[in-house]
């Protein structure tokens, strides 16, 4: 990899200059010397061109959507429309301060209000809070709401939340953070919740059930009505992890089929970029009886006036973000939804589902696929055949895909499928790119047969070869040693 920015540093070089000091009182006259820093922080001393060349060089070591397909299951790596970036960067939204008088924020609040309304319609929920900054914080907010609901009813004995074994790791981690015990529900042979087991697990102490639907195998949980009935019979709440909402737009409104709470991942379903790991946004929608527990403030409308509404503060779970969430991310999702409209949103999900099934069809004779039925927006193939027959594992296959110009699928997840490769093409990939991906996967299967060593060696053509992450742990090196 290139040198670090610190190695470009040369004493006295500057990247930017501020105006000459208009007031030039010495620091010691303003702040007592005891508070002055003893040794300056050794930030790099570089010119603007040094900075540009360095970070452009780094950018060339990245894979990104515009470069090629990202078939990451449950991550929904779809194309990010450029109009989002243009409007967000070139509007005065960038310079709004959260404590300006509401009268000077009306345009921004109107936008947020409309986004709340649109997400409520899409999800079939009564009300939405836009505050959570990411999916996992949305989960946290949702589970806090479950806790607040039970506490308000005096049901302090409700101590556990049930989570299927196919769930994302954030689900159990979130429940723990809210103070719940986690009980794992095993999936049945059809890749769904095992209802008989669920009945055994549920009792008066059950506070809720966190379900991803479609689940991480890409299958719709068909018995949702029964599940909701079981949960509601003990006054437990049904939570939807919205990671896979890209399969449901305009097809199913979760709030109308028994779910009580859900979070959205705007950086997945609504195409705000992933940003190399964030920022995302994780709004939360709830049914009517849970509205009093939403974080404060929500955006309300009174006549033609939009306001930051703290009216339900006494019952609210409080706040999860310093201000009102990741506003600039919310603006992008708003633009996306407005440009698609009801019909466009439905077409998104239809095409996501068609693309996934098409790819599944192309791959089913080459890779083992545990659940053969039609999938929703993603499916799980696996490398078990290649491992058994040729000693090539899923990691090798994933790394070889990088050589062929594709990003790897989500691998070794869900945990219930050995050697899993979770594939979600998204609706923005066209027929040709799906064919090309399938072709690459078939070539790799062939290579596994003829030249397994090649796959163990992969990747060969990436900016660096296979990275030694065991060493990154053993010889921990989290910062550059500045000389």
């Amino acid at each position: 990899m290139p040198k670090t920015i610190f190695e470009h540093s040369s004493e006295g070089r500057r990247g930017v200059r501020l105006p000459t000091r208009e007031i030039d009182t010495p620091l010691q006259d303003l702040i007592p010397a005891q508070y002055h820093r003893k040794h300056p922080a050794r930030l790099p001393e570089v010119s603007e061109m040094d900075v540009m060349r360095h970070y452009i060089k780094l950018s060339h070591c990245n894979y990104f959507i515009e470069k090629g397909m990202y078939p990451l299951g449950s991550c929904t790596m779809k194309y990010n429309p450029k109009i989002h970036e243009t409007l967000v960067h070139n509007s005065c939204f960038a310079n709004l301060h959260p404590y300006q008088p509401e009268s000077t924020l009306q345009g921004a609040l109107e936008l947020l209000y409309e986004l709340q309304e649109d997400l409520a319609e899409i999800s079939g929920m009564a009300k939405v809070s836009l505050q959570p900054a990411a999916g996992a914080q949305g989960e946290f907010t949702g589970i806090k709401i479950i806790s607040a609901y039970h506490k308000a009813k005096g049901n302090l004995h409700k101590t556990k939340v049930i989570i299927p074994d196919s769930a994302h790791g954030t689900n159990p981690a979130t429940c723990k953070l809210v103070g719940y015990d986690v009980v794992e529900l095993k999936s049945n042979s059809a890749g769904r919740c095992d209802i008989a087991r669920l009945r055994d697990l549920v009792d008066e102490n059950t506070a809720g059930f966190m379900l991803t639907n479609p689940n991480t195998l890409g299958l719709f949980e068909t018995q949702i009505e029964e599940i909701a009935e079981i949960m509601h019979s003990v006054d437990a709440l049904l939570y939807l992890d919205g990671a896979n909402l890209n399969a449901l737009l305009g097809i199913v409104q979760p709030g109308k089929i028994g779910f009580d709470i859900m979070h959205f991942n705007l950086h997945k379903t609504f195409s705000t970029p992933h940003g190399g790991g964030g920022p995302g946004a994780g709004p939360v929608g709830v049914v009517e009886k849970l509205v009093p527990y939403l974080p404060v403030p929500i955006i309300s409308k009174e006549q033609d006036n939009y306001l930051l509404d703290y009216a339900h503060e006494a019952t609210s779970i409080g706040k999860v973000h310093t201000f009102y969430g990741n506003f600039a991310v919310l603006v992008r999702a708003y633009i996306y939804i407005k440009m698609l409209g009801a019909e466009g949103l439905r077409r998104i999900s239809e095409n996501a589902i068609i693309n996934a099934n098409y790819l599944k069809t192309l791959l089913r004779n080459t890779y083992h696929i545990q659940h053969q039925e039609y999938c929703m927006h993603e499916f799980v193939a696996d490398g078990s055949k290649q491992k058994k027959e040729h000693g090539v594992n899923t990691m090798d296959i994933a790394k070889r895909l990088l050589d062929k110009g594709f990003h790897a699928p989500t691998v070794y997840f869900p945990l219930i499928i050995p050697e899993a490769m979770m594939i979600e093409p998204t609706e923005t990939e066209n027929l040709e790119s799906l064919n090309a991906f399938a072709q690459a996967m078939k070539e790799i299967a062939q290579e596994a047969k003829e030249n397994p060593e090649l796959l163990h060696e992969a990747p060969l053509s990436t900016p660096v070869r296979r990275v030694d992450d065991a060493r990154a742990v053993k010889e921990l090196d989290p910062i550059f040693k500045i000389k």
Binding site: I23, P40, K176, V252, D477, F480
Partner: protein, 444 residues
Amino acid sequence: MPYISNTDRDRREMLAQIGVENFDELIQAIPAKFRVKDGLHMGKALSEMEITEKIKSQTCKNLCAQTANSFLGAGVYDHFIPAAVDAIVSRPEFYSAYTPYQAEVSQGTLQYIYEYQTMICELTGMDIANASMYDGASAIAEAILMAVRSNKRQKALLPATLNPEYLRVIKAYTEGVGVELISIPAKDGLSDLDALQKSLDDSVSSVVIQSPNFYGNIEDAQAISELVHHQQNCLLIACVDPISLAILNAPSEYKADIVVGEGQALGNSMYMGGPLFGFFATLLPMSRQMPGRIVGGTVDKEGKRAYALTLQTREQHIRRAKATSNICSNQSLCTLAATVYMSLMGKEGLREVALQSTQKAHYLAAELGKIKGISLKYPQAAFFKEFVINTPIPAQTIITRMAPRNIYPGVAIGEDELMLAVTERKRKREIDDFVKQMQEVCHA
């Protein structure tokens, strides 16, 4: 249809290949009664031209803090951002990339995070930093939880001088796992050291300080640290303004154990308060208790320098219920802005930003002090770029009267108390004009 390139012909070809007649056959698993019957009820789809017009019209209904003469702060600050920051952050190579789990094709992201971690450690004097938290508020909350994991004690002391919004978030985050939050009262705008000493015993897990605190005042961190560390294994969590660290004590100088804070001021626009990002740094012995992603240097198969996510067994995707935090997505792109910003500013530039902010803030305070009825609320405390004044008329009245003049005079934090922030961006003429207007508004 926007963003879908497959045509109806492609669609028919694909359905045929799958072996179905129509789309509905693919969703048989969804019981018919659960399907949306007559479509979602939403406005009609807008073209790119129409959405541009709509956003423009919404923008016009706002008055942004740069068009107005603004002295708002309280957690989000209007510092200058060089153009090169946006030039880098707007590159799709960075913004449309995924989390760098596949290290071989994510070295660009991994290396900038490594550089970011290094810069945060330089500023704070800590050994190790993570790749970011959502904001300063959740970073403190996670620090308190980390302290609880480290010393197995359940009590955290929080100063009354802490940003009240942070306090709300901390309450939400720590309540479920039974952390007892105890408030340390303030005296003259600073943490009351006598009260702190009385609350400290061997059941205290951590003590939080914010310095400069919510009111802009610089806490006597050295004295607080000595009290805290008099209790064995009790941890000092310092929440700091990263810009201030160019001129004020590095938290390592007063022996902080965990250092967190709001990073927005480093090259990120205000965007009505989000996205923000929290930085999180600590000492090596606690590295395995940290929340969030961490990047480490390593080598590739050929022995060449490379980077990877490390210590992942702490994280939710491996450890599930036993993870150190539930965080997954963080604020990566905001840390890229911060990294580029700190590179451009460099050692001298960041100091200049901090110094000019201080100079201008103190100048404003002195000028306002000449107006009858206005005085510094905490004249004994040293302050950085933000301060509180007593006002001769209600602070809210000042704000209301200033609005038509396109001035945001600050945040009302009490009936007759106004808090004002000044950055290097504020020009002397704007300050002078504001002082003149304050004279008029307060003594109309």
